[in-house]
């Protein structure tokens, strides 16, 4: 049995990706299972989805805690303590990462020992579909890794997407982009042993008195520590030559993360800016531009 786990952010399409893959496997003659797991959160927050593919009956249920293949649809999730995509990955397993980096660079950047495949599917999606929707592209990559045929993938895309996308042209662009990704990934053989890594993510919580263990939050306004800045696909960038200090962007930011510097010019806290780009849309003089996010940018560069 092949066990796959998708890690994406709410809105990127991890659920649909696992579903398309499940359908494709089924159409290719396998038994398949697919399902998502949502946290109690909104669009942008980490989401996990699972697919099991087998020639035999699948009697296993529940979350895939020891996957053979991990599909990371958002690079920033690799360093997100809420997500930990690599946990439980079998030795000899495969990690796909959506990044402009090469596999070698990715291995080094994130300290991954296993086989890494990379492709900038966000860029492909922006170029070919016009929006950063990744479901069909991630499904295609996974289908290639899992050894599913192209015809089955096409049929699964048609079946699953026609219920979600009403525009024929948009559906076709999705399929085209998916097949492009399918062909861009070099097939590899997965050699997982049934030997698992040490359980890295299991912690035991000792019994505490109610005062300690009850969920009351005594620290005020501590959410900035959660750093929702890695939700961004585009970042707002200010041009101070054009800015008139009108304060519109400061007022309109839903997050309240735009502040003023010593000279009275606005700047955002990139650690928490979610990249909604309302600021850019509302700036009356167009002083804020939309720049494709590159998460390899360092925090010093952000300042």
């Amino acid at each position: 049995m092949l066990r796959l786990r998708f890690h994406g952010r709410g809105g990127q399409g991890a659920k649909v990706a696992s579903r398309v893959l499940g359908s494709a496997a089924f159409l290719d003659g396998y038994n398949a299972q697919d399902f998502p797991l949502y946290g109690a959160e909104r669009r942008g927050a980490p989401i996990t989805a699972f697919t099991r593919i087998s020639r035999d009956d699948i009697l296993e249920r529940g979350l895939v805690s020891q996957p053979d293949v991990v599909v990371v649809m958002d690079e920033t999730l690799l360093s997100d303590p809420q997500s930990t995509p690599l946990s439980g990955l079998k030795k000899g397993g495969v990690v796909f990462v959506n990044t402009p980096l090469t596999p070698l660079e990715t291995k080094e950047e994130y300290g991954i020992e296993d086989h890494v495949i990379t492709l900038d599917i966000t860029k492909i999606s922006l170029d070919m579909i016009g929006k950063p929707v990744l479901s069909s592209l991630a499904a295609a990559v996974a289908a290639k890794v899992a050894g599913i045929g192209e015809k089955a993938l096409r049929d699964a895309l048609e079946k699953e997407l026609s219920g979600i996308i009403s525009e024929r042209e948009l559906l076709d662009r999705n399929t085209e982009a998916a097949i492009y990704c399918y062909n861009a990934v070099v097939p590899i053989s997965i050699e997982t042993t049934e030997k698992f890594r040490e359980k890295e993510n299991v912690i035991s919580i000792p019994f505490e008195t109610a005062l300690v263990s009850s969920p009351s939050i005594l620290s005020k306004g501590n959410t900035p520590l959660r750093r929702t800045g890695n939700w961004r696909i585009f970042r707002p960038v200010w041009d101070y030559d054009a800015c008139t200090k009108c304060m519109t962007c400061v007022a309109r930011c839903p997050e309240g993360c735009i502040q003023l510097n010593e000279d009275g010019y606005p700047y955002t806290d990139y650690a928490n800016c979610k990249g909604c780009l309302i600021c850019a849309e509302e700036c009356p003089v167009g002083a804020i531009s939309k720049v494709r996010e590159s998460h390899s940018q360092t925090e010093e560069e952000d300042q």
Partner: protein, 311 residues
């Protein structure tokens, strides 16, 4: 907050009582409303929050608020507020709490809660003249659980439970409840509609409400990018369009007397607002549903005609 009215966004209070880093979607119009409301209300408040998107702003052990916060089920936030208010009053009376430390009690609820499940407990609280603020962020559906139809969902919209199909191509066939009028029939001391696109209007309404003891109620019409289906950057534009088309009248009521605080000089066609959202796209393609579009425009015109603000 001093009671002097503000005139421009430059004069918005600079303190932020809601911190970034929440789980709300990028571009959430409700979050923007909440940020303004908390600027107006200040730090010394207790928020009683009915289940919905905003109960997820606070996820253990994190809170975006600089104030206290209590989580209730969807139907009972106003009852929770009564309990908190009573507790504060008793503590003050017994001399255990300095009156200086008194906190304002604020209910925060989505439309599913405000228009449907908690309507009776809200009516009870207004009836008992509970001294509290009530903020409803109205995204016109049960947003947090998959955008199902609520009593606030407008006619012609696609929701999780009213998908347009062959039999019912229009989507939702029901009319949005008029919560403003339902609340207003209780003659509360202060009641207003607000919009995240009009923060100056919003702020001044809170300033005005401050002088009243009793229920102070606010309904904010808020764009929801994933539920309504639009790019997050358009959130403020859409909130503005809902006011400029006349669909969301900005008004207030003092002891039952209604006044509009903003009347568009020239009303934009409602279509300008509808066609920007995926949840209304079936009204335009594959065929234009003329009947439905016409009746939505008529509903809006009727409202303004009745209020003698349209010939």
């Amino acid at each position: 907050m001093d009671s002097e009215n503000i005139r421009s966004i430059k004069e918005l209070p600079s303190e932020e009582n809601m911190q970034p880093g929440t789980a709300a979607c990028a571009g959430c119009g409700g979050l923007l409303t909440l940020r303004y409301c908390l600027k107006a209300l200040g730090e010394n408040i207790v928020i009683v929050n009915a289940a919905g998107c905003f109960t997820l702003l606070t996820i253990y052990p994190f809170s975006p608020f600089r104030n206290s916060w209590l989580y209730t089920a969807m139907a009972c936030a106003p009852a929770g507020a009564q309990g908190v208010r009573d507790a504060l009053d008793i503590l003050i009376k017994k001399g255990k709490l300095d009156p200086e430390e008194n906190l304002k009690v604020v209910v925060l609820a989505g439309d599913g809660s405000a228009y449907d499940m908690a309507l009776s407990s809200t009516s009870g609280a207004i009836y008992r003249n509970l001294d509290f603020y009530y903020i409803c962020y109205d995204n016109e559906a049960y947003g947090n659980t998959g955008f199902q139809h609520s009593g606030a969902s407008p006619f012609g919209s696609r929701t999780g439970t009213t998908p347009p199909g062959e039999k019912v191509p229009v989507g939702s066939q029901l009319q949005k409840k008029n919560l403003f009028d339902i609340w207003n029939s209780h003659k509360p001391p202060y009641l207003a509609t607000v919009s995240p696109a009009y923060p100056v209007d919003l702020m001044n309404k809170f300033k005005k409400a401050e002088q009243f003891k009793g229920p102070k109620l606010f309904i904010s019409h808020i764009p929801c990018p994933p539920g309504w289906g639009f790019d997050p950057s358009q959130s403020v534009k859409l909130a503005k369009l809902s006011v400029e088309t006349g669909l969301w009248p900005l008004k207030e009521s003092i002891h039952g007397e209604v006044e509009h605080t903003f009347v568009p000089k020239k009303f934009k066609p409602v279509e300008d607002y509808l066609k920007k959202q995926e949840r209304f796209s079936h009204l335009f393609k594959p065929e234009r549903q003329e009947e439905a579009l016409k009746s939505i425009q008529e509903m809006v015109d009727d409202y303004w005609r009745k209020n003698k603000l349209l010939p």
